[in-house]
Amino acid sequence: MSSPYITQPTSVNALMLRVLGALVPAIGAYVYFFGPAILVSLLLASVTALLCEAAMLKVRHYAADAFLVDGSAIVTAWLLALSMPPLAPWWLVVVGTAFAIVVAKHLYGGLGSNLFNPAMVGYAVMIVSFPVPMTHWAAPETLAAAHLSFAQDLRYMFAGVLPDHLKLDAVTMATPLDTLRTQLKLSHTLSEIRRLPIFGTLGGIGSQTVALMYLLGGLYLLFQRVITWHIPVAMAGALALVAGTLHGIDADHYASPGFELFTGGAMIGAFFIATDPVTAPTTPKGKLWFGAGIGVLTYCIRTFGGYPDGVAFGVLLMNMTVPLLDAYTQPRVFGHAEKETTRGKPQ
């Protein structure tokens, strides 16, 4: 073996562990506002992911020991579980995770080779196939008409049975983004809508705190140099810019940039999903374009499209552009003239 003979004591495993660690504050906030059911979803997704990962590694003749502990499957599982409704029936989580790991990850070549973000593929497949359970979000504890005990949570998730006197509507409600959309359709103005009890200062009650925790975790990843600033800044910046422009033109119909940033999947998307290195560009300029593209697409899908949130589809659409972005945004190599670089251009 030739040089170098020393390597930094780091590993894929360590990177993934830091990502998981950065998610912990948000999970804590989640439990506080929406109850412990999310923990069950996270566990279910993790177990499913590991089982699917192990099976696929065996089928593909990969050494299971090194890859199973690399942590990437757990990261996918957690991101997917956190994107799904917290009171999701068990099969929703299991099928989504299995699809993410088996199809989106391993059938595309496994760790490092997949073109699309596995968690977002899992989410997209579920929202297209099972739109109804995917939009039944647990209401924040402070707003719900009734409370479920943890045992009742489990009964609902695994058997689909609610206590006799309760209907699903009593424990779930529309998400802030859904509420906004519906109310706008009912010709209410934004200032009226924002007075509804579901909304807080930034976004939805509860979910705004979770979003703040994602931001906190994201900053930790930035300082740990697990991610670079380019994608989160570009995505949040583009989202805020488009939202700000339209909000400036018509404040009654278009939500403020702050609202757009702290509702839905914007924060987890900017710091945890869009920054997945495998499915994002590697060049600094490419990352900026990629992030900006997701920001604009997210806004457009939220505001003009038919889905409750636009992050997943924004990410998936921009995933497709990654090879192109990388090829066209190659930085100038040391000692090369600016114009000289024809690299990456199709021949």
Binding site: T10, A66, T228, V333, R343
Partner: protein, 548 residues
């Protein structure tokens, strides 16, 4: 304060300098046997000018430089030439090359040393002197200094940079030299400045060597020509000539060119020292400071004679029992020595004894997750993650397009890779493959060229012969037509002759009928006859048809 610039990325590996630094330079051994390779520098190998049995004095030239880029080899001590033959070199493959074996007589008797007064001499005389003193770049590239110090047009190299960065972990030989011999280094720098007619002298030293920087500052203050000691941040690979140039001047040496293209010449401090010894004392390069460190009890800097066999040198540092090998150079760009029975050469700045505990084997590589840390660390701003992909897929064209050959193999990318992918090895392999293919292609091109040339020649000869015949025939016809024949008829005849020649030429098709056995030849003849018959029959037939 001079404004400093920075290159992209770089890394901060554990330094491990304290093991060997600050202990002073210790004289190396005077062993019973010295092995002196004739090719210790870039360029043509030196030619042995001694034969077994010859007695030589310390400092006597035993290998003469050959060709424009070469350097001499000298006897590092007095003794008898024992043999001129093949011996293993300190090379990653254990390569053997021509060496002169010298058995010292332990008397260490000098040859008559002849210093020169460089200010009064013609620069080419000084350069010749350096060339025959065997002065080469001691930073590791071992490029003959005389070539690099050749000034060219006046004012071409206004900036002289002296490299005391010593950025690789473990190595402290330049540090030791600067601490102890700063005055002599400055003398050497003055000679270099004189030869290049440089206007500005910058001495770059990383900030992890404050003692060396202080010593150099003191020496520089006493210099008649102003020179500036610039302390630069400790980032690997600051010691790369192009990187240090960028830090100090902000200028980037062009990818395909040299530092002199941007008016900069860069020399290692140890080179400056040997220039001083050669010019002011008439002493050729006979020894160099070698750091022996790592898994040893007494890490030291030794002033080792060139040609000292490593077991003799290493023994002084007392390697520990679990030592499992040696790295020549630093841990990032050096290479493991397949065997220890090799000599100290001019390029050897450091020997690191390794043990499994000190240099843990790299963990098993995982797939690339495109995290981009390699690109962030690359001082040349390459995209190692893309290059790795192309190299792995043997897509060498694409790798070249992505500037594979700008890679300086510093090892930063491999060092930071969380998947522990041996990126530099991939790049070395890809470069080797491309070189091999280039050679093959060149050979094929030459063969093809030769073949087409031969074909063309045969064709031309055939044509010329046909034309000659035609002219002769035309002349004969003209003769027959008589002198009084009209120009018209002459022209007709000429045309007819050309027609005939053309027809004949058409008939002469290349047949590979040379070198065939007679039986085959007769068979070919028969076939030809049959063909002729057929042609005749066809001609008659077509005539018949016309008549119809």
């Amino acid at each position: 304060m001079r404004p400093l610039f920075r290159f992209n990325g770089g890394i901060h590996p554990p330094q491990h300098k304290s093991e060997s630094a600050g202990q002073g330079i210790v004289p190396g051994p005077l062993p019973k046997r010295l092995v002196l390779p004739l090719h210790q520098h870039i360029g043509a190998p030196a030619k042995a000018i001694v034969k077994p049995g010859d007695r030589v004095l310390k400092g006597q030239m035993i290998g003469q430089p050959q060709g424009p880029i070469s350097a001499a080899v000298h006897a590092p001590t007095s003794g008898t030439i024992h043999a001129v033959g093949l011996h293993a070199l300190p090379h990653p493959s254990g390569l053997q090359d021509l060496c002169i074996e010298l058995w010292p007589d332990q008397e260490d008797r000098w040859i008559d040393r002849q210093p020169i007064e460089y200010r009064e001499k013609d620069p080419t005389r000084v350069l010749d002197h350096l060339r025959s003193a065997g002065v080469v770049g001691l930073g590791g590239a071992v490029f003959p200094s005389a070539v690099k110090l050749n000034p060219g047009p006046p004012g071409r190299v206004p900036t002289l940079i002296i490299n005391g960065a010593e950025c690789e972990p473990w190595i402290t030989c330049d540090d030791a030299l600067m601490r102890e011999r700063s005055g002599e280094i400055v003398e050497g720098i003055l000679i270099m400045r004189h030869l290049l007619d440089a206007q500005e002298i910058l001495i770059g030293i990383e900030d992890n060597k404050p003692e060396a920087a202080a010593a150099m500052r003191r020496a520089a203050a006493a210099s008649p020509f102003p020179m500036e000691v610039v302390v630069v941040p400790t980032v690997y690979p600051t010691g790369g000539a192009k990187q240090l140039t960028q830090i100090l001047t902000g200028k980037e040496a062009p990818s395909s060119g040299r530092s002199s293209d941007i008016g900069v010449a860069c020399f290692n401090v140890a080179t400056a020292y040997t220039v001083h010894r050669a010019v002011n004392h008439g002493e050729p390069v006979l020894s160099r400071v070698v750091t022996v460190t790592g898994n040893v009890r007494q890490a030291r800097n030794f002033d080792a004679l060139i040609g000292t066999l490593l077991p003799d040198l290493v023994a002084l540092a007392q390697p520990k029992d679990d030592t499992d090998g040696f790295i020549m150079g630093g841990p990032l760009m050096g290479h493991r020595l397949p065997a220890l029975d090799v000599p100290v050469v001019k390029a050897m700045n450091c020997l690191i004894a390794t043990s499994p505990a000190l240099f843990k084997p790299a963990p098993r590589p995982m797939p690339c997750i495109r995290c981009g840390r390699c690109a962030a660390a690359c001082p040349v701003k390459l995209q190692p993650q893309d290059l790795h992909w192309f190299a792995k897929a043997s897509n060498f064209g694409k790798a070249q397009e992505y500037a594979l050959f700008d890679c300086i193999e510093c090892g930063c990318c491999s060092y930071v890779c969380p998947s522990h992918i041996p990126l530099v090895q991939y790049f070395r392999h890809a470069k080797g493959e491309i070189w091999a293919r280039e050679r093959e292609k060149k050979a094929a091109d030459t063969a093809r060229e030769r073949h087409t040339f031969r074909e063309d020649r045969l064709e031309r000869e055939k044509k010329e012969r046909a034309e000659r015949l035609a002219q002769k025939a035309a002349a004969a016809t003209a003769q027959a037509a008589g002198d009084g024949a009209a120009a018209q008829s002459k022209e007709d005849a000429l045309r007819a002759a050309i027609e005939r020649a053309k027809a004949k030429k058409a008939e002469i098709v290349p047949r590979n009928t040379e070198n065939l056995p007679p039986s085959t030849l007769s068979e070919i003849e028969k076939i030809e006859a049959r063909r002729a018959q057929l042609r005749e029959a066809a001609a008659t037939k077509s005539l018949d048809q016309k008549e119809d």
